[in-house]
C-alpha cells in the first residue's frame, strides 16, 4: 500500500485544475454548497467565499473577487487544516491502491427459480420471464445443489446472500420452500449466515406466502411503479388486464404483517414518468416506508428507455425528492429511499469499491437448468455460461475478465469524481450498450452522478445521514 501523503497547499503550492476537478467534487444541491473529497469520502459544506475560491482554482485562474486578500487566505488555510487532518486529500495525490484485489470468491447467488411470469410488463428485460428461451421452473433439487455449491466455493466467507428471482418466483413456491429449508440446514451445519431475498410482482402474494416469508426471515422486494395510471400502463397480466389494485392490496397486507421485516417497495421509471418523484411520494402516502425507484433497463430503441433529452426532468425529480423527504422527515413522516440511504462514514472498503459489480467474481445467477451465468442480466447471452451447479465453475476465465473491469482500468471511471461511490456501474449494461465491459453505459453514469449528489445533499441536510 502506498503511503498516504498529507501535503498541504501551503507546502506544495497551487494544485492542478485537473486534480481539483478529479478529486474535489464541488456541487450545489438542495440549496447547499457542498464539497466531496473523493479519495477520503468526507463531505464538507462551503460558504460563498470558499465556493468562489474553489471555482477559481478549478479553472486555473486567480480568485478575482472584491475581497481577494484575507478571505482567500482564510479559505486556503481552511483547506490546509482539512488536508492536515485527512478529511481532504491533496488534489494531485494519486489514488490509493489496496494491498491486492485477489481472486474472486463467489458468495452470492441469484436463483432464477422461474423462467416464467404471470405478468407481461412492457419493459421487462427478461423477455417477460423466459429470458429469450423456453419458459420453465427450477426443480428444487437444482436450487438445493446450487446452495451446496455456494456454501462450498465461498470458502472462508461467512456471510452469504441468495435472491429468489425470475421471472416470477411465486410461480414456483414449492421449490422456494424446499430450497429455503435446505439453506437453513446448511447454515446450521456450517455456521455460515445465509441472507435470503425474494423479488416479486406481488400478483399472487397471499397470506400463506406472507407467513412463510416472515417465518423464514426472507427480505422482500415488491415491484410496483407508483401511481395506478403509471403502473397499469406498463405492468399488465398475461391476458392484458391492469394489476395495480390487486398488487397494492397484497403489498399493504404483507407489509403490515412485518413491522420489523426488511422490504422495499420498488419501482421502475421510464421516459413516460420522468416525474417519478410523484410515484415515490404516492407510495409513501400509501404507507410504505422503504422505497426504491430505478431507471428502466432498456435498449435505446425501446419506447421506455431514458434518453439524454429526458435527463433534465429526471434530475428535477431527484432534486424535488431531496426537498420533500427532508421536509417529511422534519415533520415526523419520514421514509427511506434506497439510493439516499448512503453509509458514508462506514461504507465498504477501498478494495470493494474498485469493482462495485460482483458479477462473475462474487455473484452468479443460476438458471432453472442449473447453468451458471455471471449475473441475472447475462442469462441467455451467448458465451457467458460459466459452469453448472453440478460441476461448479468450469470457465473461471469469465470471472477473471469481469475482475479486470475495475475503475482504475476503465478510462471513463478513472477520472470521474463518483468513482468510489458508483464503483464502475453495471457490467451487463456496459456490455449491452457498448459491447464491452470496459466502457460503462453513459446515460447510467449521468443518472448515477446526479443521484449521488442528491443523496449526499440529503445526508448533509439530515445530520450526516446514517
Amino acid at each position: 500500500m502506498q503511503e498516504v501523503a498529507k501535503r498541504t497547499l501551503s507546502e506544495q503550492g497551487r494544485p492542478s485544475p485537473a486534480g481539483i476537478r478529479r478529486n474535489w467534487h464541488r456541487f450545489m444541491a438542495a440549496g447547499a454548497r457542498l464539497l466531496l473529497d473523493v479519495q477520503s469520502g468526507s463531505l464538507h459544506s462551503l460558504d460563498e467565499a470558499a465556493w468562489d475560491v474553489l471555482e477559481a482554482l478549478e479553472q486555473g485562474g486567480a480568485y478575482d473577487g472584491t475581497d481577494r486578500g484575507s478571505r482567500v487566505d482564510e479559505v486556503m488555510a481552511d483547506l490546509d487544516i482539512l488536508i492536515e487532518e485527512g478529511t481532504l486529500s491533496h488534489p494531485d495525490d494519486a489514488d490509493p491502491m489496496p494491498s491486492a484485489l485477489g481472486p474472486g470468491v463467489v458468495k452470492a447467488m441469484c436463483l432464477n427459480v422461474a423462467h416464467d411470469c404471470d405478468m407481461r410488463c412492457g419493459y421487462c428485460f427478461a423477455g417477460t420471464g423466459g429470458f429469450g428461451g423456453a419458459r420453465s421452473l427450477m426443480p428444487a433439487e437444482v436450487g438445493c445443489r446450487a446452495l451446496d455449491l455456494l456454501f462450498d466455493i465461498s470458502g472462508h466467507v461467512r456471510h452469504l446472500d441468495v435472491d429468489y428471482f425470475g421471472g416470477e418466483p411465486l410461480m414456483n413456491m414449492d421449490a422456494v420452500v424446499e430450497i429455503t429449508r435446505h439453506g437453513r440446514e446448511l447454515e446450521a451445519r456450517t455456521g455460515k449466515t445465509l441472507k435470503l431475498t425474494l423479488t416479486t410482482n406481488c400478483h399472487e402474494l397471499s397470506p400463506k406466502i406472507d407467513k412463510f416469508l416472515n417465518d423464514n426471515d426472507i427480505a422482500a422486494v415488491l415491484s410496483v411503479d407508483g401511481r395506478s395510471g403509471v403502473h397499469d400502463a406498463v405492468r399488465r397480466t398475461a391476458d392484458g388486464r391492469p394489476t395495480f389494485a390487486r398488487i397494492a392490496g397484497n403489498m399493504l397486507r404483507f407489509v403490515n404483517t412485518r413491522p420489523d421485516g426488511e422490504y422495499y417497495a420498488r419501482g421502475t421509471y421510464t421516459r413516460r414518468n420522468t416525474d417519478f418523484v410523484e410515484d415515490v411520494l404516492f407510495l409513501a402516502d400509501m404507507g410504505f416506508t422503504s422505497i426504491s425507484f430505478e431507471p428502466v433497463v432498456a435498449a435505446p430503441s425501446s419506447p421506455y428507455s431514458i434518453r439524454e433529452q429526458d435527463l433534465p426532468a429526471v434530475f428535477d425529480s431527484y432534486d424535488r425528492l431531496v426537498a420533500e423527504m427532508a421536509s417529511r422527515r422534519a415533520a415526523g413522516r419520514g421514509f427511506r429511499f434506497f439510493h439516499f440511504d448512503l453509509n458514508i462514514a462506514h461504507g465498504p472498503c477501498l478494495a470493494k469499491r474498485l469493482l462495485g459489480c460482483g458479477a462473475g467474481r462474487e455473484y452468479v445467477a443460476v438458471t432453472p437448468d442449473g447453468e451458471l451465468y455471471p449475473c441475472h442480466q447475462f442469462v441467455g447471452r451467448e458465451g457467458f455460461v460459466m459452469g453448472n451447479v453440478w460441476d461448479g465453475i468450469t470457465r473461471p476465465e469469465i470471472g477473471e475478465a469481469f475482475g479486470g473491469a475495475h475503475i482504475y482500468a476503465k478510462s471513463a471511471c478513472r477520472d470521474c469524481w463518483a468513482r468510489f461511490m458508483c464503483s464502475g456501474g453495471c457490467h451487463a449494461n456496459a456490455h449491452e450498450m457498448n459491447g464491452t465491459l470496459m466502457t460503462p453505459y453513459s446515460i447510467g453514469c449521468l443518472i448515477t452522478r446526479k443521484r449521488l449528489e442528491a443523496a449526499l445533499a440529503y445526508a448533509a441536510m439530515t445530520d450526516g445521514g446514517s
Binding site: 462551503l46 479559505v75 487544516i81 489496496p98 422486494v221 433497463v297 448512503l342 441475472h376 448533509a460
Partner: protein
C-alpha cells in the same frame, strides 16, 4: 483520524468524516454483501452497504 482537536475552520465545515484511504490497508475481508449495480435489482446495491468488519 482525529478531528476533535484541530483548529477551527471558517469557510469550509466538515459534515461527515470518512476514511476511505485508510481502508486500503485494512479492507478486503469480503464479508460485505455482494453488490449489484444493475438498475433491475434493489436487493444488493453498493451505495448503502455497511462494512461488516
Amino acid at each position: 483520524m482525529n478531528t476533535d482537536t484541530r483548529e477551527e475552520t471558517k469557510h469550509v465545515k466538515t459534515i461527515i468524516v470518512a476514511d476511505l484511504k485508510g481502508t486500503a490497508a485494512t479492507g478486503g475481508c469480503r464479508e460485505c454483501q455482494t453488490s449489484c449495480q444493475s438498475a433491475c435489482k434493489t436487493s444488493c446495491t453498493l451505495g448503502n452497504q455497511a462494512c461488516r468488519k
